[in-house]
Structure formats: C-alpha cells, structure tokens
Assembly symmetry: C3
Homo-oligomer: 314 residues x 3
C-alpha cells in the first residue's frame, strides 16, 4: 500500500504503486455501493466543495454521491469562468472556501493547471475533476480500474484510444495511467487531432483505424464534441463516423474479446454504433459505477485513509 499524497492533481506524477493503491481501495468501496445501506462514516463531519467553473452535471453528481456515501457534507459552487472577471480571482475564491473550513475542494476548470495552482494557495485537499485539455485523473483511474477488473491485469494489454486526442484531458490522463501500468497504448484519429508528438509519451500513433483496432484488447472511444465540428481541423460529423466511428463492420474485425469503453455521454451513431454501446462488449455503464467507487477511494486516501484494509465499512 502506497499513498502519502494530500491531493490528486494529475496522473503524470503518480507512481504505479500509487495507482494500484487507488484501484485496490476503490474495489473495497465498490462493494459499499452494492449494499442496501450505501454509506460509510469515513468522512463524517468533513466538508467537501464541488467548485465547478466549467459545467459538468455528470461528474459533479458522481463526486456529490461519493461524498455523501462517505457521510461528508457537500456544497456545490458552480460559476462561469466569466464571473471571475469582475475582480475576484480563483485564488480568492479558493481561500474563501478554505476560510469556510472546506476540507476538500473538487475543482473543474477550463484552465489547465488550475488544480495545481489551488494546491499551492490553500490547505484543503484538492482533487482535479478536469482541467482544460490537461488531465482528468479520476476518469483515467476509473478507466484503469474497469480494465483491470475485466481483464485481470493492465500490463501487456493493447489499449487503443480513438478520437480527438489533442484536446482531450481524458486521453492524456489515460495515456499516463496506462503506460505507467505497462499497457501498450495506441492512439488513433484524424491526423490533425492525433499528432506524432504523442509518441514521446510512449504511445504508438496511427491514423489508420483498422490497424488501430485489430489487435486491441480495449478500445476507448472519446466523445466527439459537436462544438468543435466547425473548426477547420475537424472533419464533418458524418465524415468522422465514416472514417473513425466504431461500426458493427469494424467491430467484427477486432479480437472477439476486445472490450469497448467511452467516458460518456455517448453520441449514438457518431463515434459509436448504438447497438455496440448497448452490447455485452461495452463497459460504458460499468465505468460510471466504477467512477463512483474510485472517487470515494480518492477522497478517502487524500484524507489520510490507510488503503483498503483501513476502509471503515460500518
């Protein structure tokens, strides 16, 4: 067991042992979610603030439920980044939350580095819930947890991430986690969005979807952002589906036990065929369930919890 961190800011700085500690702890918490009474008193009397400067109902709710199941108090602070332009800084907001005795600040922000910045200016535990195009560490942890649960291991697996890699914090955090745990990571998507520079992170880069999926054990599809379709770098939605969408024909050319992941919410018929999303090959909903367990584990560990053996399950 290995965890001495006060914050969860990114995957890049974690060791493989630390990642495994989160995954092992999450396994214990996943069992809590299956009980009739889904609560443990681990964070009773602690205060968690969801500081979401970029909107995200689903991630916000996942963290909110994770905090409730640990018996913490939680308040939601949602704001437009624009509302901070009136003279107040992010630092001031965070210090105000600290002055309210917030024990944890879960931050989502459109600016890369916002969580790291907060960790330097306040004493609360900071958890990165997605910062710009930088990292989304709990997403990578829940993805890795899901892979390990299904495949029994991560090392040696062929994992393909397909989509807009360049602007994806999900991709970036997954690349860090997977390579640290010894998986073989392949990135694929339009050439403008999957530059060769990612090879420096230890990945294989290809723009040929058939080659990318052929030997994959896991295919992780990123969400196509409709907002981006007007950008010149991005092909039209229809063209994307034709070139990179996971259709039934393509799925038939993957290994029979290859499994499909997606961080959600999915665009049915765009990056993924609707039937595939609902099939036994899809791990999409298990990812959601595991996300809750992973977020409980992260809150528990940064608070000084002792790993799975120390999980209070009363």
């Amino acid at each position: 067991m290995s965890w001495n961190r006060k914050h969860l800011l990114d995957i890049e700085s974690l060791t493989a042992a630390e990642i495994f500690t989160v995954l092992d702890t999450a396994r214990a918490f996943k069992a809590v979610g299956e009980r009739a009474i889904k609560k443990v008193p681990a964070l009773r009397g602690k205060t968690v603030v969801n500081l979401f400067i970029e909107p995200s109902t689903r991630t916000r709710i996942s963290f909110e439920l994770a905090a409730q199941r640990l018996t913490a108090d939680i308040v939601n602070f949602s704001a437009d980044a624009s509302s901070f332009k009136k003279g107040e800084t992010l630092k001031d907001t965070a210090r105000n939350l600290e002055a309210l005795n917030a024990d944890f600040i879960i931050i989502r922000h459109s600016a890369s580095g916002a969580p790291h910045f907060l960790s330097r200016v306040v004493n609360a535990h900071i958890i990165n819930a997605g910062d710009g195009a930088h990292e989304h560490p709990t997403q990578a942890l829940l993805d890795t947890f899901t892979i390990r649960e299904k495949k029994g291991k991560v090392a040696g697996l062929n994992v393909t991430i397909l989509g807009d890699i360049l602007y994806s914090r999900v991709a970036r955090s997954n690349i860090w986690a997977l390579t640290k745990l010894g998986a073989n990571v392949t990135l694929c998507g339009p050439a403008t969005l999957v530059p060769r520079t990612f090879e420096q992170m230890g990945c294989r880069v290809t723009h040929d979807v058939e080659e990318a999926i052929r030997d994959a054990d896991i295919i992780n599809l990123l969400r196509i952002q409709h907002e981006r379709q007007r950008q010149t770098m991005f092909p039209g939605i229809g063209e994307y589906t034709t070139l990179f969408g996971l259709t039934k024909a393509r799925l038939a050319r993957t290994k029979p036990d290859a499994l499909i992941m997606h961080p959600g919410p999915i665009n049915r018929g765009v990056e993924i065929d609707s039937d595939i999303a609902d099939s036994g090959r899809s791990l999409i909903l298990e990812q959601v369930t595991n996300g809750l367990a992973v977020r409980m584990a992260v809150l528990f560990l940064v608070n000084g919890g002792q790993g799975p053996h120390g999980v209070t399950v009363g």
Copy 2:
C-alpha cells in the same frame, strides 16, 4: 393494505385499494412533519435523484424534503430538454444514474410517457413528477388525501375541476383518482379547453361555470398558464377571469361547505379571487403540506414499505 408496485407512473393503472394504501401511509407520515425532529430512518443509505428535465422549483423541493425526511441521500439533476439533443438520450441519462446506484429516479419531463419509458430501461424505482400533459400522480394523491381528510370520504362527493383541462396533467390524474374512489367529477372551462370527449372518462362536462360550482363539495381550480394566453384557443386573461374566475360573487352561490383547492402557484385575481385564496374555505396550503406526506409515502411504498403499520417512526 395493498401495494406491490415498484414504481409510481400514473394513477390510471392504480386500483382504489392501492390509492387508499398511499393515503393511509401518508397520514402516518404527516404526523412526522409535525414533530420537533422531522426525520425517520426508513431510506437511510438510499440514493434519490431528482431528474427534472422541465423546471419546477416547488415540486423539486417537495420531493427533496420528502427524501431528506426519510434520511435518503438526494442529488438534483436539472437539465433543459434541449441539452439532450446533443446526442445523449434520456435512456442513456437514466442508465447512467442507475450505474451510480440510484435507487429512485423522480422524473419530470415535458414528454408524456417519459416515466413509463424509464421504468422499462432501468431497474431503479421511477416516480412520475409530471410528464407532459399526461399525468402528475403525486398531485392527484395529495389532492385526494386533502379531500378525504377534510370531508371524511371521497365517494359520493361532487368535485368540480375548473380551467384548462385539455392540457392539464393535474386534471387528468385527478379525474382518474376521483372516479376510482367514487366521486362525481364535473369538468368546466372554455369549450376549446374542455371537450366533451372527457365524458368518456366518466366525468360530467359543462361550460357553464354556475352550473359547475352550484352543487360542488370541492372546487379544484387549475392554474392559468400565462404562456398560453397568446394561443387562439384561449381567451384573454381578463376574459377568463370574467367567465370562469372564482370571484366572491360566484363563491356566494356555492354550497356553504364547498372547499377550494388549487395546485399552485396561484395567480391572484385571475383564476381565484385573492381573498378567497386566503380564506378558511381554501385548502391550498394544506395541499402543500399534504404533498410532502404523500411523497414520503410514495417513496416508502415503492421501496417495499409495508403500509402505515410498517412505518418506522424512530
């Protein structure tokens, strides 16, 4: 005692015995609201999601308080129906909530049938908090509870519902509940909004307000939707008040013990004279109080509670 349902989707499919079970259970929970400590542990460790795809602060808060008083955890998920057009379906949202171990999904949606649809695609308990122009079952249950509490019975009473019946889910659910319990239901309002086809539901239809209120024991006034006044089917607001508003002059021509109901929020001086709304003849605020008790009862019963004798009041 009679309740074996997993969901509350509508009134139409309930039996009179089931309706009475809800009303009896609500009576026990109403007493909880009058205590110094207004909580019972019946749903401790359960997760309730308020999925409101159509805005409604008042109904949302009523369900939120009902869940809190049963010691459940609750999260609010509010969204525009439009936000679902970006590729995610209602089914996907509900399955995501289920993957988060939501035990109850309380849904309000502008589309009729949305709760029934959810009950087929997820395992959580579904409670209809209003779907399109179809049904609003907890409103009918609280209305029926209020009538029974005040009049000692429902069977044989003359209940007049006055207003825009055609587009009203409140009216539709009330008609089902009242006719099942043996009340004589009269519908009244502008001819364009109260078509004769409602006679097939076992109601009397009249467009003469004097005739509608003369023998009524209960007069249930529907809220006039200002948004609708531009529609060709609807007279002007002033004209509506003249033709169908409950004025003091009209109230004087009702039975002396006729009581006035309204689902709220009221438009003072439009469908109801302001003084009448505040008078002893008005049950409007008692309806609100009873709504909380009825919603506690519904959450309790769909969870497998055993009726009022099984209410845990610790």
Copy 3:
C-alpha cells in the same frame, strides 16, 4: 445572556446585550469548525430553506454550511425576482415553504423590508441575508465578532467605513452594530455616496480619506460595484482608486496596528491594494471563517438555544 427573538431581521432593533449574546455564542461555534468532525446535532430534523431571490453564491454557501454543521436539512430555492411577476407573490412563496414545514427561511431579496414582511406572514424563523440597500445583519455581526476577537473590545475603537455608503446594506448594518457597542464610526467616500445625513446615525462623515484613516483602529472597505460605475454619481474605477483606494502609501499613514476588513469579494487593485489584502493587516479571510460561526449562532439562538452555555457540542 440575552436572546428572546424569533427572527434576525436587522441590527437596528437589537440591543447591545443581544449583539453580545450572538458574539459569545459564535465563539463557541467557531471552535466546532476547528474540530475533525465539524458537526453538532443542535438542529437535527429541522428544515432550513435558503430563499435567495437575489443571487449570492458566497453567502448562500456560508448559510448552507452553517445549517449542515448544525445537522439541519437544507434546501436551496433560488429564483429571479422576475419569476415572481407571473402572479405569485413573495408571500405565497413563503407560505408554501411554511406549509412544507420549513423551520427557518433565510432570505436574500433585492427589496428592502422583504424579511420583515415575511416575519409577519409566516411562522418560520426568518433570517435576513441581505435586503436591498437596507441591512445585512449577519455581515455586521461577523464584522463585529472579528473586531472584538482581534482588538479585545469594540467600545472606544475608531472604525472607518470607506466606500459607497449610500447604497450599502453592509455599511448600514455595521453602523448600527458599531454605534450600539460604543465604537466611534467614521464614514468616508465620494460626497455623492456619503451624504452628511449619516451624521444622524451617530457617525462622523468626511470626504477626506487621509483624515478618515489616520486615527482608525479598523478600516472596513466596501466592495465597489462595477455595475454602478456607469452611474453619474460614481467616479470612474480608476478615479475611485486614486481618490479612495487603500494603497500602500495610504496604509503607511495609518496607525501601525490598524486592521483592514472587507466583506468580499474584493476587487484587487481597486478599493484595496492586492498586497495589503494578503498581508497580516488584513482580516478578510478571518471574516469569512467568523461568518460561518456567527450564522451557526444565529440559527441556534432564534431556534431558542440558550446562549453559549447551552451549545450542544456532542
């Protein structure tokens, strides 16, 4: 110990003894915030509604945390004042909340007197969280708490309030609290915004900032509302900073132990130099911490708590 009030509507009607009771009670609750488990069961099973008809994330969160730490249930009801124009009145909304067994209604409203009005139409405890340009009593109580904690007393201190006094409910509540407790209050700012009529409240009025700060023990800077800068009465932001901003040069001409306060959120570089805000002379963040304790004390006392000796700290 002196407290028999059901509501906290303003500072104007409080006695000095009552103010001291709040401050003493808050001292006990401040200690709760420093514990590992920051909760006391004083309001278990009570329902608190945050009725915010004017937006304020920070004050709303402070009250929300205060209620949670007292183990109350809390729901947020936020609305535009405009949404009340559709026919529903504030009175109706409040009576609906009362019908939902709300024990406390915390109201922020753009109309002066809204809390007093509510206290006459419902039975719930009403707490004023800011009403128009009238009062913001918990802000004055937390400011007074902070002054007393740092200086050991309030009586005899020279307190200067600097800024837009005319439209400031913070200023008005502070003037009442400070004069009742025997402080010498000086008001300063642009002549259009600090009229001589405030002398009738027992204050000294000056438009000379040097004179205002020279002998001050406490300098309380009000937030400059950017929205107001287009008004003819208000100088430009730059001009305001030049004429009235607390710069390092000006701070050097104050007493060495003069302390700086601000209700937040601050405009760095406008009403206050950024370095001063972060310096040991600034009490800004302590005010935030004390606000939580003061709000816990207010909720506790209006509920009939017996002052600090009665604080249940289990």
